[in-house]
Symmetry: C2
Subunit: 198 residues, 2 copies
């Protein structure tokens, strides 16, 4: 799980992780909000009507779902279960609400990383560069950023993204280290059996 | 905590970690057994008489202590507390018994890494190359190795030491990653306070 306020560099870091590591795929969230210019259905989000969203909720088809700013967001269960079945990792890019809900479902196997911006000034600057957003939306987003940041202490790891290359290295270090966790190494039990048999 | 059966490469990996990382120091265990040829008092172990050992136990001067093969071993508390007070990490090289006891004292902050040999044949070969040991001692050590290995599932991380350079990289990856854990990054709370203040 990579969480952060908008403007902390999460999307860039997610893209680098997906490009450079063959064993991880992105969980694409489903939402009822309208696509922004440039957003691709099925890649950035699965864009659906409220009725379709509600039908998936009724079928227990989401690992977690929530409503933020009058729009619904959810993590579809099927692609995640399929990836894990094949020993692949899954990258989640959702907010603290979704993280808490997901944590209740897959606690032991969830690695939670929080990305912080280097300063308040830098965060404000990054949030203002999206030309298509109104002042009201930017103000809402700053407020949401502060609310998101307030949940930093619920995460396992924290990366302060001052230098992108350094933040990327730190993210890969966490990924590699977590893959060395004993419970994630399949085949260890039979390897140890061979080591100790008479 | 680095644990492993004798002959899995733990001593070499410990030495590399201490040489290459300035922020970690070794916890030197105290023992009542006699020094082996080449062992240095205060470096390999603190060699003490049984009476002195018992006096330290009585003063609560050990983080953990146990008796193995009729000799007493313990981890002195004072050097560890001193290192942690100065924000330094401490490397422990003790067996599964000591690990379990230490885990009860410092659970959240203890990172437990288990080193496995690449094969039973390689382990046997390595245990037999210590010329000063009698057959009886080697047999005892093989039995102790199997007993030690049987506790692999109590550790957080497992490294199979087939290639020393790869094992070293993996060990440093775990160290760096664990240092990025949120609760180990001092100063984060005030940094976040500055990020979110009006």
């Amino acid at each position: 799980m990579l969480s952060s306020p908008s403007g902390a560099g999460k999307s860039t870091l997610s893209r680098l992780l997906l490009e450079k590591d063959d064993n991880i795929s992105m969980s694409v969230s489903t939402t009822t909000r309208a696509p922004r210019p440039g957003e691709v259905d099925g890649k950035d989000y699965n864009f659906v009507a409220q009725d379709d969203f509600d039908a998936l909720v009724a079928q227990d088809g989401f690992l977690e779902h929530a409503t933020v700013f009058e729009h619904s967001y959810g993590t579809p269960a099927a692609p995640v279960e399929e990836a894990l079945k094949h020993g692949k990792d899954v990258l989640f890019d959702i907010d603290w609400q979704g993280t808490q809900l997901l944590d209740q479902k897959v606690h032991e196997d969830l690695v939670k990383v929080f990305i912080l911006p280097p300063s308040k000034e830098e965060l404000e600057k990054r949030l203002k560069t999206r030309a298509q957003d109104s002042d009201e939306v930017v103000a809402k987003r700053m407020s949401k950023a502060n609310s998101e940041i307030s949940h930093w202490a619920e995460y396992d790891y924290v990366i302060v993204n001052e230098d992108l290359q350094k933040a990327e290295t730190e993210l890969f270090t966490i990924l590699k280290s977590e893959r060395m966790k004993r419970f994630r190494q399949s085949g260890l039990a039979s390897f140890v059996g061979d080591l100790t048999k008479d």
